[in-house]
Amino acid sequence: MKHIEFNDYQPIYQQLMDHISQRICRGDLAPGEKLPSVRTMAVEAGVNPNTVSRTYMELEREKIVESRRGQGTFVTEEKQVIEKLRKSQAAVQADRFKSSMEQLGIDKETAFQLLNNTWDGNGGSS
């Protein structure tokens, strides 16, 4: 796996949390699936193992994963938790889209139209 590209302004553990959350939402990491060990994840992502431990701890606090003593860390099997996570991840992206449009000086109506066009695949970034 290629190392994750990290941005400069956010703590790495948060970026890694987002990355893992997205993989869970996509189903790339299935409900109940075991996450890689801390060290394996550190090598894969190209980060410090202590950062991965922190990431797993924070994910556990949000009930997205659970650690089982002596066995490792597993993706939650609670569908509701994953659904909630998907919604909150989507909300973050929606926020980003909105602020990018605002920065370009595009109003709500035009933005919606653009989004509609993109969605239907006619009128891309030409």
Partner: protein
């Protein structure tokens, strides 16, 4: 856990002051980056911690004992310079190191060398620069000292070797018990691997912070921080 403390440490080479009353306690474990311009005192700092040189004033202690000639079982120093013997093979270098360093983990050394695809029968003389760097690091890591001082392990290496070196550290360092100090100018590349950062400037430590906390409060990359405090 290891306690490394510097109390008012100064060091001069001739008239030039390399370190000026450095006073700090290092984190107990994890990976700490030491960054700063050339000549800011990074190597001097590492050599003092490994007991290879003595301060002109002040004290450097590891777990309460002043560092010096006998610090070899506490701190390992990876030199930027050539530190291998040309006439030895890779295998012989491991055997030799096992004889020199107390507590050297021979098995680990063989594993590391194999992981990095070095041939034990090859002579050091015939190794590429990257492979010499890999071997040097393997020998240093196999000493399993509580403190590892890596002086410019990435300098002059191609991107693949740099990646390999960082991977080896992440895979085999015991981040809960060992402290690894790394000096480097490859700040951006090193940043995701760091728990802690020290920024040096003109012989002084001007920033001494946890990296995640620094990002959370300053929302800046280490390069930006470096530019600000040394500019």
């Amino acid at each position: 856990m290891t306690n490394v403390s510097c109390r008012n440490v100064s060091k001069k080479y001739g008239r030039k002051e390399a370190l000026h009353s450095v006073d700090l306690t290092l984190p107990e474990n994890g990976i700490a980056g030491i960054i700063g311009p050339n000549g800011s005192g990074k190597s001097t700092f590492l050599k003092l911690i490994s007991g290879l040189i003595r301060p002109d004033s002040g004290t450097v202690k590891i777990n309460g004992t002043e560092t010096g000639r006998k610090s070899g079982s506490e701190a390992a120093y990876l030199s930027e310079e050539d530190s291998l013997y040309d006439f030895m093979t890779v295998g012989k270098t491991i055997a030799f190191s096992a004889g020199v360093y107390p507590g050297f983990d021979r098995e680990l050394a063989h594993t590391l060398v194999e992981e990095m695809k070095l041939n034990e029968k090859d002579k050091v003389k015939h190794l590429s620069r990257g492979n010499k760097a890999r071997l040097k690091l393997a020998v240093t890591m196999a000493r399993k000292t509580p403190v590892l001082c890596l002086d410019e392990p990435l300098s002059g290496m191609d991107p693949l070797v740099r990646e390999d070196i960082l991977r080896l550290i992440v895979t085999h360092l015991d981040v809960e018990h060992q402290l690894c100090l790394i000096t480097s100018h490859e700040v951006k590349e090193l940043e995701p691997f760091l728990d802690h950062v020290l920024i040096m400037h003109d012989g002084q430590v001007v920033v001494d912070r946890n990296v995640e906390e620094l990002k959370e409060t300053e929302r800046k990359s280490l390069i930006e921080m470096l530019r600000e405090v040394t500019g």
